[in-house]
Each structure stands twice: as structure tokens, then as C-alpha cells.
């Protein structure tokens, strides 16, 4: 198992490098000029020098290497410096955004909490709703509850977040006036009232994102439970005289969770992708919105870094899912 983990970790390095290269080359083709926003009165040679100051004069492989160096060497040094008060970085050049002229990671660190709050909470809520639905649907197959669960998950698959989001805004903010339609990120939770407000403004984006998660995870949970309920060991457990709750909640559930946990791990990157749209709907100034703004302003370092971070997340979650599978299911051996 340990060898397998090490091998997968080593193998993921070329994968990530290749992904970084693909993203970089795609951005390299970008016709958008970061100088496009500058006043027209700036003479051409000054503009040329400004471009060079941004590092655009070098050939692409030099800049790619520089970006890799900054991403993997310089930025971690700054983290360590920030955490322990050391001075490894020694004033080295960080990845700088074209738009704000500030380090990309500072901006990301500012935006990350909002996204993590909304996305993380929605994932937890979505999974927490999905698991019982999946279990009951499978245990009472073809019952009214199962039919309703199937229908709800079909809706979760079919209604895109930009419509469900807008729909709940129309219903709960416009018609009923219960909830705020815009997410206020400057809001500080200090007492009960502010906590209540925070809950109110979070509930809509969280539920919209959770619906997608619930749809997917409850389907997997149901299928996995159905597979296991028909197994011989379930009959044996019942024949031993175990109570039905022990059979279902201990024997069947534990075995059914194995594939579902990997699905949950694999779904994390896609929920971040879905957050791009949801943040746009509820005007949450998180990472997704940052990406859209950076794209529109052809802020190449910012787009490159955020996209690459998402790729890292995908590769990491694939790895975790595979390892979890081996850890949870002793029948699977990777040697």
C-alpha cells in the first residue's frame, strides 16, 4: 500500500507538469493584451517597456520555467516564512497579477474563505442529505419514497445551478422577502443576530450547490446498497438472528460505503467548478468570480494559477480516492 502511494505520488508529478504546460500554452495563444486597459496616450516604446516589466518579452519556455519555479519554490518559501517567521524567500519575485499588481496568492488567500465556506458547507450538507435518501431508497426499492428520491435526483441532474439559483432568489428574496439575494462577504459573525444573518445569506447558495451533490451521491448510495442487499452475507446475518437495524446499518452500510466514499472524493473538484456559476448568481466574491474577472481582464498569471490549483485538486482527489479504495476494501490489493 505504501509503495503504491509513493508510486502514484511520483507518477502524478509528470501529469501535473503536462497539465501546467497545456494550460500555459493555451493561455500563450491569448490575443488579449494586458496593456489594453492602459490610456492610449502612453507612447508605444513605453508600452513595450511596460510589457517587458511584466515579463512578457521573454520566450515562452523561459516564462513557463519561471512560473513553475515561482509556483513550486518561491511561494512555499513565503508560506513557511509567514508561518514560522523565517526568511527563506529572501525577497524573491512572487507570481504577480497583471491586474492588481499584487501577489496572486495573496488575492487567492483573500477569496478562498468565502468559496470554502459556501462550497464546503454545501458539500457537507449535500452528502448528509444524500446518504439517508440513498439508504432508504434502496431498502424500500420501488416504494413511494424511492420514486420521489429518483425524481428529485433527476431534477438535481437536470436543473442547472444558474436556473435553480435564480429561481430560489425569485421565490425567497423577491416574492417572500425572507432571504438576502446578494452574499455579503464583509459580514462578521460576532453574536447571535449576525450568526442568524450569516445563516440566512448562506442557505440559498449552499442549498443550490447541495442539490447537485445530493442528486449524484444518493444515486450511487442507492445502487451500492442494492448491490449489497442481495448478497449472501446479508442472508447469513439475518439467519443468525441479528436485528434488521444491525444488518442494514452495520453489515450492509459499511460495505456499501466503499464505492460511495470514492465518489464523494472524486466529486470535490467538480463542485468547485460548479461554484464558478453559483458564485456568479449569488454575487459571492470567491475564487470563481476571481477567475471570471481575471479571464475578462486577460490577467494571465491569475488565470494560470487558479486553473492549475483546480487541476492539482483533481489529481489529488483521484489519488485519494484510489488510496481510500485500497484502504477500505481489503479485497483490493495494488501490489
Amino acid at each position: 500500500m505504501f509503495n503504491y502511494t509513493i508510486r502514484r505520488l511520483v507518477l502524478s508529478i509528470p501529469t501535473l507538469l503536462f497539465i501546467a504546460l497545456v494550460i500555459f500554452l493555451l493561455l500563450e495563444l491569448a490575443p488579449g493584451d494586458p496593456m489594453g486597459q492602459m490610456p492610449l496616450t502612453i507612447p508605444d516604446e513605453v508600452k513595450q517597456r511596460m510589457r517587458e516589466a511584466l515579463g512578457l518579452g521573454e520566450p515562452w519556455y523561459t516564462r513557463f520555467y519561471l512560473w513553475l519555479y515561482q509556483f513550486f519554490i518561491v511561494e512555499p518559501q513565503y508560506w513557511i516564512d509567514g508561518a514560522f517567521g523565517t526568511n527563506f524567500a529572501n525577497g524573491a519575485q512572487r507570481i504577480i497579477s497583471f491586474q492588481s499588481r499584487s501577489p496572486v496568492f495573496d488575492t487567492i488567500a483573500e477569496r478562498l474563505p468565502q468559496t470554502l465556506w459556501v462550497v464546503g458547507m454545501s458539500y457537507v450538507v449535500g452528502v448528509a442529505i444524500a446518504l439517508p435518501i440513498g439508504i432508504i431508497s434502496a431498502y424500500k426499492q420501488y416504494s413511494v419514497f424511492d420514486q420521489a428520491g429518483t425524481f428529485i435526483s433527476m431534477i438535481g441532474f437536470s436543473v442547472p445551478p444558474f436556473f435553480s439559483g435564480v429561481l430560489v432568489i425569485v421565490i425567497f428574496s423577491v416574492q417572500l422577502g425572507w432571504l438576502p439575494s446578494i452574499y455579503d462577504t464583509t459580514h462578521q459573525v460576532v453574536d447571535w443576530e449576525t450568526f442568524k444573518f450569516q445563516m440566512q445569506q448562506m442557505i440559498m447558495p449552499v442549498m443550490v450547490l447541495a442539490l447537485q451533490t445530493t442528486a449524484q451521491v444518493s444515486r450511487y448510495m442507492r445502487a451500492s446498497m442494492l448491490d449489497n442487499l442481495g448478497q449472501d452475507y446479508v442472508r447469513t446475518a439475518r439467519a443468525k438472528g441479528l436485528s434488521e437495524s444491525v444488518v442494514v446499518m452495520k453489515h450492509v452500510l459499511r460495505n456499501s460505503m466503499i464505492p460511495v466514499i470514492t465518489v464523494i472524493a472524486l466529486g470535490i473538484p467538480s463542485i468547485f467548478g460548479g461554484a464558478i456559476i453559483t458564485e456568479q448568481v449569488f454575487k459571492v466574491n470567491g475564487l470563481g468570480q476571481l477567475l471570471i474577472i481575471a479571464l475578462q481582464g486577460s490577467d494571465i498569471p491569475m488565470v494560470m494559477t487558479i486553473t492549475f490549483l483546480l487541476a492539482v485538486l483533481i489529481v489529488l482527489m483521484n489519488l485519494i480516492a484510489d488510496i481510500l479504495y485500497g484502504v477500505l476494501d481489503p479485497r483490493i490489493r495494488y501490489d
Binding site: T15, I155, F157, V166, S298
Partner: protein
């Protein structure tokens, strides 16, 4: 699933039958799938044949009749500005919403179908090649894995921004964006099809009839077209329905993020995006295109569900 007995009886009556009749009988017993098929036919007819009957120009500005509410608003609000000539109302420039939904639906559906066909073609090609030729298996599947670990939505957004202007210049504003969106969605959604097809082809290759065909000297090209492809048709069809649903959603999402078609060129996602600013006063403008997208995708998903049941011979004719 509940009406299986009915399907078996009709199957017994007739003797010589094409296998597709069996599939159709099984499909017909799936109520959700039939409802989905009915709705998809309806919305397709509404968008394609609708403009022949409702011949209002979707781009025509009519400032005097701007902000007309849909006709049913009159039921609870007698003073609302409604008109039988504009049953779904008009937008802030007086453009007829029904004509716009029809026009937008045509583009959304066209993008969905073309992108799905492209994705299925690429996926089938990669899957068959990887499954049939052992030497190609490793490189093609590693490539599929690599594409799967790319963050696709951000890259699609980047592609939209990058190639929008060159393609618009080369093929005109409409065709350029259409091509861009179709190709963008197509090359980012073929991976699941490729994986499923590869697995099925690998299993097929071990079967006796393939060995028999090879022993009489069938060349690989004919082997694939005559023996392999017809047998992997069912998983391809199921993944095609899923692909159609995702393609429609992705196109609307791109339009919603403001990176799809230009604004004088309506699609369902674009109409939805343009109406969000005024949704406080005119919620119906958001609901019409949103319902159109959601119901179409729901219908396609149900058709896929029914197809999966109907094409699975273990379930069929039970």
C-alpha cells in the same frame, strides 16, 4: 418496470421481429421515458415549426409595447399590461419573448445535438481504437486520463475568450461562435464515452464470433464496422443521451457567464442571463428560458434512463 407483463404479451403475438421492436416495446413501458420523448418532440417542434405559425421577428424592436407581461398575469392583476398579441410578454425593448424562446431554442438544441454527435464520434473512435488495438491502448487511455484531470470548465472559458475573435472574423459572428462552442464542448466531453466503449470492445474481442470472423481472414477495418460497432451501439446510445443533456447545460452555462453567443443572438442561456437584472420586476422572463432548459434536459435524462433499461437484454422481456 411495473408494466413488464404487458410488454411480454405483445412480444409473444408476433413472430419475426426486428430486435429494435423489442427495444421499443421495453422503452414504451417506461413512463418517464415516454413522457420525456413526448416533451422533446414537442419542444423540438415548438422551436423548429413554431416560427412558421408564430411569424414574429424575434429581433424586431417595438418600444411602444415594451415590458408587456404574460397573458396569465391578468388573472390576479387586472391593471397589468397584457396583450393577446404577445402571449408570453415582451422584454425591455419590446421584443416578443415567445419568438425569442423559439429562436433561442433552435440554437440551443442545434448546439446540443452537434456537440453531442462530435463528442460521441471522438469518444467512439478513441474507445474502439484503444480497445481493439493493444498497442494503442496504453497511450490513448493515458491521454484520456490526462484530459479527465484537466479543469474543464475554466479551460472552456479560456478557449471561448481566446478563439472568439479569430473565428468570428473567419466564419462570421454566428457561425464562428457556433463552431467554437460546438468544438469546445465536443472536445471536452468525449472521455466517458471512450472509457465505456473501450471496456465493451475489450470484452467483445474475447468472444467466439470475433474469433470466427478473424479466422476467415476479416481485416480489422471490416471487423470493427461489421462486428464490433453494432455490438457496442447500446452503451454509445446511452452515453449520447447523457452527452446531449450535458451539452445543452454547458452551452447555457457559457452563455450565462457572458462568454457564449453575442447578445443580439438569443439562446436559452443568453435570454436567462439578460433577464437576471430585471428579475425583481419581471420574474417570468427568467422562468421561461430556465424552464425550457431544465425540462428539455430532464426529458433527455429520462429518455436516457428508459434507453438504458430497454437496451439491457437482461431486463428486456422479463
Amino acid at each position: 418496470m411495473t408494466d413488464v407483463s404487458l410488454a411480454t404479451e405483445t412480444a409473444k403475438d408476433e413472430k419475426a421481429r426486428n430486435q429494435w421492436w423489442d427495444v421499443w416495446d421495453q422503452f414504451r413501458s417506461h413512463k418517464g421515458a415516454m413522457a420525456g420523448l413526448f416533451f422533446l418532440t414537442f419542444i423540438t417542434l415548438f422551436c423548429t415549426a413554431g416560427p412558421l405559425i408564430w411569424d414574429v421577428d424575434p429581433g424586431k424592436l417595438d418600444i411602444r409595447n415594451k415590458d408587456v407581461r404574460p397573458i396569465y398575469t391578468a388573472i390576479w392583476d387586472g391593471d397589468a399590461k397584457v396583450s393577446w398579441a404577445r402571449p408570453m410578454g415582451t422584454d425591455h425593448l419590446g421584443r416578443d419573448i415567445m419568438a425569442n424562446i423559439m429562436q433561442g431554442g433552435r440554437i440551443s438544441l442545434a448546439v446540443g445535438w452537434t456537440a453531442m454527435i462530435l463528442a460521441v464520434l471522438i469518444g467512439t473512435l478513441v474507445g474502439v481504437l484503444a480497445g481493439y488495438f493493444r498497442r494503442l491502448d496504453w497511450p490513448l487511455m493515458r491521454f484520456t486520463d490526462l484530459v479527465l484531470s484537466l479543469p474543464l470548465l475554466p479551460l472552456l472559458l479560456v478557449m471561448m475568450l481566446l478563439f472568439r475573435d479569430p473565428l468570428r472574423a473567419a466564419f462570421g459572428p454566428e457561425n464562428g461562435i457556433f463552431l467554437l462552442i460546438v468544438i469546445g464542448i465536443g472536445i471536452t466531453s468525449w472521455m466517458q464515452t471512450a472509457r465505456i466503449v473501450r471496456g465493451d470492445v475489450m470484452a467483445l474481442k474475447e468472444r467466439e464470433f470475433v474469433l470466427a470472423a478473424r479466422s476467415i481472414g476479416t481485416p480489422p477495418r471490416r471487423m470493427i464496422t461489421r462486428h464490433v460497432l453494432p455490438n457496442v451501439l447500446s452503451p454509445i446510445m446511452v452515453s449520447a443521451t447523457l452527452g446531449l443533456a450535458t451539452a445543452i447545460i454547458t452551452e447555457s452555462a457559457l452563455s450565462f457567464l457572458g462568454l457564449g453567443f453575442p447578445s443580439d443572438f438569443p439562446t436559452w442561456g443568453k435570454i436567462l442571463f439578460d433577464s437576471v437584472d430585471r428579475m425583481t420586476a419581471f420574474p417570468e422572463r427568467v422562468i421561461w428560458p430556465g424552464m425550457a432548459i431544465s425540462l428539455t434536459v430532464l426529458a433527455v435524462n429520462y429518455i436516457g434512463d428508459g434507453l438504458r433499461d430497454a437496451l439491457d437484454p437482461r431486463i428486456r422481456g422479463l
